[in-house]
Amino acid sequence: MSLLEVKNLKVHFPVKHGLFSRVRAHVKAVDDVSFEIEPGETLGLVGESGCGKTTLGRAIVKLTEPTSGNILFDGNDIADMSGAEMHSVRRGLQMIFQDPVGSLNPRMTVEEIIGEASDIHRLAPDSVSRGNRIRKLLESVGLNETHAARYPHEFSGGQRQRIGIARALAVEPKLIVCDEPVSALDVSVQAQIINLLQDLQAQHGLAFLFIAHDLAVVKHISQRVMVMYLGKIVELGSSSAVVEEPKHPYTQALISAVPVVDPDSKRQRIVLPGDVPSPIHPPGGCPFHPRCPIAQDRCKAEVPALREITPGHWGACHFAK
């Protein structure tokens, strides 16, 4: 059984205008998305800003209420659960945020930040075991107990992200949604955090939903990769298959646009025209057709379904082979 199973998930935000805040339109941030995550697996999620990847991540942890669809975590549907019912589920389901400054309370010490999580779930019966727990957590993310009494502002960006990771680990989760965990960090520190996440995964058998806009980072850390465009999944497959034989023209363009350090790589650059369309008024038919280099008349009318093109490799394009 999959650890997480998302079925036809939709998250729509109303756009309100005018005198009585009438709802004029909906932003379809996540539109009919289905996928699974196996225990211990890393599923990468890439897409450009505004494609709905962060909303999808937040909806899974129920920081954003889904509009419709099912989210089966460990077999239980959490999509319609109330806050109180979510309490026990959250122990298995944690999140790491992009901005390590904004996601740590500046008035709490590291000990309070990490301890709060285990207090809520009553994981430490007394203060001695609580202290031990916090020390172990700090050590597991490469910090030590001398850091416990300090405040977040006393740490560098990479260390703050480590604190955020320790907080997520404090409740021994099975799945962590990592929302752009390295994009706010210096280049030389990114690798430390990526390695740390991989080590922790191996030790604790964690599953990750790893959200990022950097395809190279996602490919590096994930077993499978999912590409989103305008709220829809356009491609899903093993990371090597998606990067080496992308089926969808958007993925192809995305990969060719990634800057490559090696000056001798023979790459054909596909420069896409235009911008990502507004998700309030997405184009009819295939959402990618206005920018697509191979679009035909059919693409303007017919929405392509996500179909299995080769075993385990899904794409949403009429012409994908």
């Binding site: 450009e48 800003s49 560098s156 960006g157 990479g158 260390q159 210096d186 280049v187 030389s188 520190v189 990114q190 690798a191 430390q192 990526i194 390695n195 991989q198 806009h213 950097d214 395809l215 190279a216 980072v217 490919k219 590096h220 850390i221 990067v243 363009a253 995305l254 990969i255 060719s256 646009a257 990634v258 800057p259 490559v260 350090v261 090696d262 000056p263 001798d264 790589s265 650059r269 420069v271 896409l272 911008d275 990502v276």
Partner: protein
């Protein structure tokens, strides 16, 4: 050919007395006409203040130029008066920045903002027609209607194109682009880089591009300077540097970034974090994080030496890193010998 820009031993401090922090320490860099130079480094390494110094955009105080000179067309920017500075800002050097939405004025239409630059520098042709021509040049479709737009009506990529149009309005000799694509998505980043490359060819201007992304370097640069903690640690032709980085920091930086074509092998992370200005180690500033550091690196300050033609490296072991240039001049011959033995 004479260089358009020569930065010589630039030293810049913030703060006074005991609190003075030297954020740029002895940076030297030349840019020839039509050349694209990339300045690569992590946040806080001094790359932006170096670039802003070219048009004296850093206010003094709080900053203080302690030494060095910035020769733009042979004249020292650091000694210029107000009128001369006005003339070179825009007239010789134009800037584009990381966040186009923060650089554009939100309450004026973009056409008017571009025209403002024209009025200052080329008053004879401060017309709608010229604004439209500039917008066409930077690849904005339907520019006739777009000049009536406010910045918020445009996407990030379009706003950056408007910024470029504004920078080009004054026909500069040098375009300084400070992380121009960092705030943009990869597909839009590819568009803007393509545009910069094309404009450079067409207009024959020089570009100084500041980035933290080594991947961009191979796409656009002729020459690269890698900065670390206020100093240039490696300076080389772009392709040579990417094919064979010499300084341990450049190597480590390249190895720590996952490559899209790379295998699943573990990343070689650089330990520790970037030292903050004012807390630089006494010897080599990369010493505490360097995987190949030797005992002398802790105390001895390395010089930037030419280890091969056009390849400069700041390391006590520079000659060993290069293919061996016996002419390499270094003030640290003694310590180098003792360390090598």
């Amino acid at each position: 050919m004479a260089n358009l820009l020569e930065i010589k031993n630039l030293q810049l401090e913030f703060g006074v007395g005991a609190n003075a922090v030297r954020v740029v320490d002895g940076v030297s860099l030349n840019i020839a006409p039509g050349e694209t130079v990339c300045l690569v480094g992590e946040s806080g390494c001094g790359k932006s203040v170096t670039a802003l110094s070219i048009a004296r955009l850093i206010s003094t105080p709080p900053a203080r130029y302690v030494g060095g000179e910035i020769l733009l067309n042979g004249r020292d920017v650091l000694k210029m008066g107000k009128n001369d500075l006005r003339n070179i800002r825009g007239g010789v050097v134009s800037y584009i920045f990381q966040e186009p939405s923060a650089s554009l004025n939100p309450v004026f239409r973009v056409g008017r903002q571009i025209k403002e630059s024209l009025k200052l520098h080329r008053p004879g042709i401060a017309t709608d027609a010229e604004v439209i021509r500039l917008l066409k040049l930077v690849g904005i479709s339907a520019p006739e209607s777009r000049i009536q737009d406010y910045p918020f009506q445009m996407s990030g990529g379009m706003q950056q194109r408007v910024m470029i149009a504004m920078a080009l309005a004054s026909q500069p000799k040098l375009l300084v682009a400070d992380e121009p694509t960092t705030a943009l998505d990869v597909t839009i980043q590819a568009q803007i880089l393509e545009l910069l490359r094309e404009l450079k060819e067409r207009l024959g201007m020089s570009i100084l591009l500041i980035t933290h992304n080594l991947g961009i370097v191979g796409d656009i640069a002729d020459k690269v300077a890698v900065m670390y903690a206020g100093q240039i640690v490696e300076l080389a032709p772009a392709l040579d540097l990417l094919r064979r980085p010499l300084h341990p920091y450049t190597k480590a930086l390249m190895n720590s970034v996952p490559q899209i074509s790379g295998g699943p092998k573990r990343l070689e992370a650089i330990g520790g974090s970037v030292p903050s200005p004012g807390n630089y180690p006494p010897g080599c500033r990369f010493f505490p994080r360097c995987p190949t550091a030797q005992p002398p690196c802790e105390k001895t300050i390395p010089e930037l030496v030419e280890v091969e033609p056009n390849r400069w490296v700041r390391s006590l072991y520079a000659t060993r890193l290069g293919s061996g240039n016996p002419e390499a001049k270094t003030g640290e011959t003694e310590s180098r010998k003792s360390a090598a033995s």
